[in-house]
C-alpha cells in the first residue's frame, strides 16, 4: 500500500503530459483568428459527424491543420531552394548568383513529393488512360 502511494507521488512530479500544454493553450484561443475560417473547419468537422459547439475547439483544430500544411510547405521550400541552388551552380558563373537575389519560388510536385515522403506520405499520380 505504501509502495502504491509512493508511486502516486512520483507520478505527480512527472513532467506535463501530452495534453497538458494543448489544454492550457486552448484557454488562450478566445481572441485568435486562424487562417482557415471557423465556418469552413466547422463544415468539414460536421461532414464527419463531429458537431463541436465550442468555437475554441474549432480554432484549435484549424491551427493544427494550418501547422500541418505549414510544416510540409517549409520542407518543400527547402527542397525547392536546394534544387534551384544546385541547378544554378551547375550552370555556373555570375548569372546564377545574380538570379538568386530576386528568385521566385514555385511549389511543384517535384518538391512536394520528397517533402511528403519525409512525413511518411506517398503520393502517386492516378493512372491516365488515353
Amino acid at each position: 500500500m505504501a509502495e502504491a502511494s509512493d508511486k502516486m507521488i512520483v507520478d505527480d512530479n512527472e513532467p506535463a503530459t501530452f495534453g497538458q500544454p494543448l489544454s492550457n493553450f486552448l484557454l488562450q484561443l478566445e481572441d485568435y483568428t486562424p487562417t482557415i475560417p471557423d465556418a469552413v473547419t466547422a463544415h468539414f468537422l460536421r461532414t464527419s459527424g463531429c458537431e463541436a459547439k465550442d468555437p475554441r475547439l474549432i480554432r484549435l483544430i484549424s491551427i493544427a491543420a494550418q501547422k500541418f500544411i505549414s510544416d510540409i510547405a517549409n520542407d518543400a521550400l527547402q527542397h525547392c531552394k536546394m534544387r534551384s541552388s544546385n541547378s544554378s551552380n551547375s550552370h555556373g558563373g555570375s548569372k546564377g548568383s545574380k538570379g538568386s537575389k530576386d528568385k521566385r519560388y514555385c511549389l511543384t510536385m517535384e518538391d512536394l513529393t520528397p517533402a511528403l515522403a519525409e512525413f511518411g506520405i506517398t503520393i502517386k499520380k492516378p493512372h491516365y488512360y488515353v
Partner: protein, 105 residues
C-alpha cells in the same frame, strides 16, 4: 437540392484552397502549380475530416455526444501528430487572415 449542396461544398473547398495559398505565401513560396495546390487542399480536407471522425469516436466511447478538448487531443495522438509546440507556432509569426466574405448582389 443536390445542386445547392454541391455548390456549397465547392465554396468550402475554394475557401480551403485560399487558406492553403495563404499558408504557402507565408512559408515563402510565390507561386504554386495547380496539381500541388490540389494535393495540399485534399490533404487539409482529409486532415479536418479525420480529426472530426476520430474526435467523435473518442467522445462516443466516453458516452458523450459533444466532443471536448481531450477527445481532440486523443485524435491528434491517434493520427501520430505531436502538436505540443502549437503555441510557439501561433506566437512565432503573424499569420494572415482571409478577408470576410462580401455579400453577393
Amino acid at each position: 437540392m443536390e445542386q445547392t449542396t454541391t455548390q456549397q461544398v465547392n465554396v468550402y473547398r475554394k475557401m480551403l484552397a485560399a487558406s492553403v495559398c495563404s499558408i504557402l505565401m507565408e512559408s515563402g513560396f510565390d507561386t504554386a502549380d495547380k496539381e500541388s495546390l490540389g494535393t495540399l487542399t485534399e490533404m487539409i480536407q482529409c486532415f479536418l475530416t479525420e480529426v472530426g471522425a476520430l474526435s467523435k469516436s473518442y467522445c462516443e466511447l466516453s458516452g458523450r455526444s459533444e466532443p471536448v478538448v481531450a477527445d481532440v487531443i486523443l485524435a491528434f495522438v491517434e493520427m501520430g501528430h505531436n502538436f505540443n509546440d502549437l503555441m510557439v507556432y501561433t506566437k512565432g509569426m503573424k499569420h494572415s487572415v482571409l478577408p470576410p466574405l462580401q455579400p453577393q448582389q
